[in-house]
């Protein structure tokens, strides 16, 4: 359960500062688009609970990955995640962390409260919305995939 996707153990790391400097100069819209697409795909798979999603209606989110310079803005409107390309004002909720902390969190290698306590993860904005999103992510039951399972059948012994 600690690592249901059977990803390799992710150590804490920081990408070279050059990566962030370059990344911040690149257009950010592809990140927003990709993240919104991925979230909608998860929604379609039924991984995200509908009752919790309803509570996100009309809210604007931002995810900042410090060491890649990536910033993704998206909103949940009319039952779907939509990229926000021209950011107007402050988001309702803003997650900031290094890439390794985000990976550790989604792979369930580290607990979000632990990352928050040790300041690897910053959550700003509407605290209740943040708690709701955190609890929604915590409650997700990832399919028990493994890289083994994803290999084409002709490669299996």
């Amino acid at each position: 359960m600690a690592n249901p996707l059977k990803l390799p153990t992710i150590p804490p790391f920081a990408l070279p500062t050059l990566v962030a400097r370059l990344g911040a100069r690149l257009p950010q819209w592809p990140h927003s688009l990709n993240l919104a697409l991925a979230l909608n795909a998860a929604k379609k798979l039924g991984v995200l609970p509908e009752d919790s999603l309803r509570e996100l209606e009309g809210r604007h989110f931002r995810v900042t990955v410090l060491d890649t310079g990536m910033v993704a803005d998206f909103a949940y409107r009319q039952g779907a995640f939509r990229p926000v390309f021209v950011s107007s004002g402050q988001p309702d909720l803003h997650f900031t962390a290094r890439l390794s902390a985000f990976l550790q969190m989604v792979s369930r290698q580290e607990d979000p409260d632990t990352l928050f306590f040790n300041r690897s993860l910053s959550i700003e904005g509407d605290t209740e919305l943040g708690l709701r999103v955190k609890n929604m992510l915590d409650a997700l039951e990832w399919p028990r995939l493994s890289w083994q399972g994803l290999r084409p059948t002709f490669l299996k012994p």
Binding site: D113, T114, F117, I123, E128, N135, A139
Partner: protein, 334 residues
Amino acid sequence: MAKPQLVCPAGSLAALKAAVDNGADDVYLGFRNDTNARNFAGLNFDDKALAEGIRYAHQRGRKVLVAINTYAQAGRFADWTASVDKAAELGVDAVIIADPAVLDYAAQAHPDMRRHLSVQASATSYEAINFCREKFGIQRAVLPRVLTLAQVENVIRHTEVEIEVFGFGSLCVMNEGRCWLSSYATGESPNTVGACSPAKFVQWEKKPTEMDVRLNGILIDRYGNDENAGYPTICKGRFEVAGETYYAMEEPASLNVVEMLPEIIRIGVSAIKVEGRQRSPTYVAQVTRNLRQAIDAAVAAPDKFVVKPAWMAELGKVAEGSQITLGAYNRPWR
């Protein structure tokens, strides 16, 4: 020597499965309403999730305990009795209750369903526990984290009620079940709405060199960028007292009893509880796995019990404030 049950928290079905998979004997949880003291947005179990959780646990020979451990609010007693009825209908193994009126209802309406006295009942003496045994037929009592180990032993010697103690997790200021600090700042507290420092009153504000946290406008703490943060509760804030700014009530830290496990087992504790229904399945898995190993080692060879650094490292990492303490168990004063 009796082996204490390991009682682990679950705020979601994923966390329940993590607890069971990593060796919990009992899992405790709450409904999605203010009848439990971890009533946070998006947390806890609806009927469908609870039914699936019970099925998962029972298939593997584990028990599910439901906390209905807030105090029934005026004019809404039916909400609490409905939770008790729902727990009975779904076939849980026990209910954990604080309010004497709710306990009385459970004893009358469902005499065969086990009743545990919640920590929120704040029963610290064997007289209080025996009273609840006599009046409401409780089978187990969860002791508040205010007693020394010698005092816990004294309680155990004078009651036939099973005694459960906290073994790991965030600590409350030493006034459990009677704390009104959250209400003082917000008008809401665990006993009334099921949440300490409800999130809608909490504001984290990041500045270039520090982070402020306020509860309903009251500045609770200001963290430097290299300092660990804690839960935004008044008891763990830093305040200016007589010209000095420090943790005026208590430091954010987690209880960790691993090093005193042989003693806890020797005095006859029936169950060891892990705090943290608000935490993720990752936390539940990490804490359950390490405590399972430690308890098994302490039961197998109490005299040769050695604390493994790996247990302490993983438990220390997930601790609030990344600090651990033995809390009241080993304090020298009474």
